[in-house]
C-alpha cells in the first residue's frame, strides 16, 4: 500500500508481549501503516499474564490468546522473544535504535509482606506461587511446601481466590486445565486440608468479584466456609447503587459459606476477616502466622484484643503488586507503576498496561491504553531516521543472544499441544533452554 503520510515511516519497539503490548501493536498498525513494529519479550513465549497469571483452570479466559495470535499474524509485527531489557540490552541502547519505545512490561513483583519471619521457608509471594502453577520459567523450581494440613493466604482480591481454588481442586477437576505438570504432581500429593483466606478488613471491603467467589461454593471436594458473626446483615451507607448490587451478591455468597457444613469435605476454604498479620512463626520453616484482630474505626484499621495463631506450612501473600524501575526510570509514588503523564514518560518513550496504570482493570482495559497511546504517538512523534531492527539485530548477534520468532513460538506451542495429557489443552514447557532447543537457530 502506498504511504499517504509524508516522509519515511517510524520504527517502534514495544517492550513486553502481554495484552497491553499486543493491543498497542494493533492500534499502531492501524494508525501508522507502514511503521516498523517490533515486539520484544523476555521469555521465548508471548502473552504475559494471560499465559502465566490467569488461572490454569480458567481456559475460557485464556481463549483471549487467540485474539493476540490473530493480531500477530494479521499485521506486520516482528516478535522478538527471549530478549530482556536491562539483561540483554539496555533501555538507552533500545532508544538509540528506535524512533519510539513503548513499555508494556507489566508490574509483576509482589508487594512485600513486611513482618518478622517473611524470609522463612514456605513463605511465598503470589507472583512466585501463581508463576509456579502456571509454569513460568522463573518459578519452575519453586517447589512450594504442601506437606502440612494448614495453608494461609493473605489478601482479599481475586488472586487470593485463584490460589485457594487451585490448592482446593481435585486432580479430576484440574485435568482439563493447563496447570504445569510439576504443580499437578505436587497438588495430587498435597496434604493441605484447611486453606485460610485472611483479610484485614471485612467482607464488604474485600475486592473479590462475585463470579470468582461463587465458584468456591461449587468445588467437588472442597467447601467454602465463613464465620457467621463476621458477615454483616446489611450493607451500610456510602455505597453507590452499583457497589450495593455487587457487594450484596458477595454477602449472599458469604452467608451461604457461613451456613455450610464443614463435615465430609476433604478440603476447607475458610474466610476470616478483620485480622492483620503481625508475625510469621517457625524455626526454619513457617509453622504458623500470628494475627491481631482489628476493628474498623472511621475507615481505619485499628488493632484490638488478643493475637491468635493460625498453624500452617504454606503462606502465600497476595497483597498487591510493585513495579521495578526498568532502565532506572522513575517509579510513581504508589510504587506499582512507572511515573507517566497519560502514557507518556518523555519524548519518544511511552508506557501502557499495568506498567502505566498499576495492577487494575480487566484484560480488555489494556485495549483502551493501547489505542490512546497509539493516538498520541501518531500525533506527537515522527521518524527520526533511527536504524530500527537492523541495529538491534546487530547487538543481539554480537552478544550471542538466541532470540525466538513468532514461528518459533508456534513450534513451541505445537510441542506443548502434542504433549498434552488426556483432556488438557497443553502441557507447558517450563524451561527456557527446552524452549530454545525447539527454536530455529
Amino acid at each position: 500500500m502506498p504511504q499517504l503520510d509524508s516522509g519515511p515511516s517510524m520504527n517502534i519497539a514495544i517492550v513486553g508481549a502481554g495484552p497491553a503490548g499486543f493491543y498497542t501493536a494493533e492500534a499502531l498498525a492501524a494508525l501508522c501503516p507502514g511503521c516498523e513494529l517490533d515486539l520484544i519479550e523476555r521469555l521465548p513465549t508471548p502473552y504475559g499474564l494471560i499465559r502465566s497469571g490467569v488461572a490454569p483452570d480458567h481456559q475460557t479466559t485464556k481463549t483471549i490468546q487467540q485474539t493476540f495470535e490473530r493480531i500477530a499474524q494479521s499485521i506486520n509485527l516482528r516478535f522478538i522473544g527471549n530478549v530482556e531489557i536491562d539483561r540483554d540490552i539496555s533501555l538507552a541502547e533500545l532508544r538509540d535504535a528506535y524512533d519510539v519505545v513503548v513499555l508494556s512490561c507489566g508490574a509483576p513483583h509482589d508487594a512485600p509482606l513486611d513482618i518478622p519471619g517473611h524470609k522463612l521457608r514456605g513463605v511465598y509471594g503470589a507472583t512466585a506461587f501463581v508463576g509456579w502453577y502456571n509454569g513460568h520459567p522463573d518459578y519452575a523450581e519453586l517447589a512450594p511446601l504442601l506437606d502440612s494440613p494448614g495453608a494461609v493466604i493473605i489478601g482479599n482480591g481475586n488472586v487470593a481466590i485463584d490460589v485457594a481454588r487451585i490448592l482446593a481442586k481435585s486432580v479430576a477437576e484440574l485435568a482439563s486445565s493447563d496447570i504445569a505438570a510439576h504443580a499437578m504432581r505436587a497438588i495430587a500429593a498435597s496434604r493441605i486440608g484447611d486453606i485460610h483466606i485472611m483479610g484485614r478488613r471485612g467482607p464488604i471491603e474485600a475486592k473479590f468479584t462475585n463470579v470468582e467467589l461463587r465458584e468456591l461454593g461449587e468445588l467437588e471436594e472442597a467447601v467454602a466456609l465463613a464465620q457467621p458473626d463476621q458477615i454483616p446483615g446489611a450493607l451500610g451507607d456510602g455505597l453507590s447503587p452499583r457497589e450495593r448490587r455487587e457487594k450484596a451478591k458477595n454477602l449472599e455468597c458469604f452467608r451461604l459459606f457461613a451456613a455450610a457444613d464443614a463435615a465430609a469435605h476433604r478440603r476447607r476454604i475458610r474466610f476470616q476477616f478483620y485480622a492483620r498479620p503481625v508475625a510469621i512463626l517457625g524455626a526454619e520453616r513457617v509453622q504458623a502466622v500470628r494475627f491481631e484482630p482489628v476493628r474498623i474505626d472511621a475507615g481505619r484499621v485499628a488493632g484490638h484484643g488478643q493475637t491468635f495463631d493460625v498453624p500452617c506450612g504454606l503462606l502465600v501473600s497476595a497483597i498487591g503488586y510493585r513495579i521495578r524501575a526498568l532502565g532506572g526510570l522513575p517509579v510513581a509514588e504508589t510504587g506499582d507503576r512507572l511515573a507517566n503523564a497519560a502514557g507518556k514518560i518523555t519524548a519518544g518513550l511511552y508506557v501502557v498496561g499495568w506498567a502505566k496504570r498499576g495492577p487494575s482493570g480487566k484484560i480488555g482495559t489494556n485495549r483502551g491504553d493501547g489505542e490512546d497511546v497509539a493516538q498520541r504517538i501518531k500525533a506527537e512523534e515522527s521518524a527520526a531516521g533511527k536504524p530500527g531492527f537492523a541495529a538491534l539485530e546487530a547487538m543481539l548477534r554480537r552478544r550471542g543472544v538466541h532470540w525466538s520468532s513468532f514461528t518459533d513460538w508456534k513450534t513451541i506451542e505445537a510441542a506443548e499441544i502434542a504433549a498434552a495429557p488426556a483432556g488438557a489443552p497443553r502441557r507447558k514447557l517450563v524451561r527456557v533452554d527446552e524452549m530454545l532447543a525447539l527454536c530455529a537457530k
Binding site: T61, V211, G361, I363, G368
Partner: protein, 111 residues
C-alpha cells in the same frame, strides 16, 4: 459460540462490558448495546460484569433470537470501544420487564 445482549440492557446501558471485552465487538444503539456474533470470541468476560445482567451465552434458553437480534443491529449501529455517559436514570430501569416492547429505540447512537 457467542454472547448476546438482551432487552435488559435497554435504558440501562452501563457499558461495563466495554472495559472487559478484549475484542471490541459491541455496537451502540440509542438506548442499548449489542454484540456482533461474528466478532465475539466467547471468552465470557462481559457477562458477569454487566450490572443489569443483560448478557447471555448463546446456548441459554431463548438466547437464539437474541443472537439474531444482536446480529441485525450490529450491522446497523456504530462500533463502540470506550464507555460514554451512563443514562442518569439507568438504575431505575434495572430488571424492568417488557422493555423491548415499550422502550426499545432502533436508532443508532448519534455520532
Amino acid at each position: 459460540m457467542a454472547f448476546a445482549v438482551t432487552a435488559l440492557c435497554i435504558r440501562c446501558k452501563f457499558q461495563d462490558c466495554l472495559q472487559s471485552c478484549p475484542v471490541s465487538c459491541f455496537y451502540e444503539g440509542e438506548n442499548m448495546l449489542v454484540i456482533k456474533p461474528e466478532d465475539c470470541i466467547d471468552c465470557g468476560a462481559c457477562e458477569p460484569v454487566c450490572p443489569a445482567e443483560a448478557i447471555v451465552r448463546d446456548n441459554a434458553p431463548g438466547a437464539e433470537e437474541w443472537v439474531e437480534f444482536n446480529r441485525k443491529y450490529a450491522a446497523l449501529w456504530p462500533n463502540i470501544r470506550k464507555s460514554g455517559a451512563v443514562p442518569e436514570d439507568a438504575e431505575e430501569w434495572v430488571g424492568v420487564e417488557g422493555k423491548l416492547e415499550t422502550q426499545f429505540n432502533p436508532a443508532p447512537a448519534p455520532r
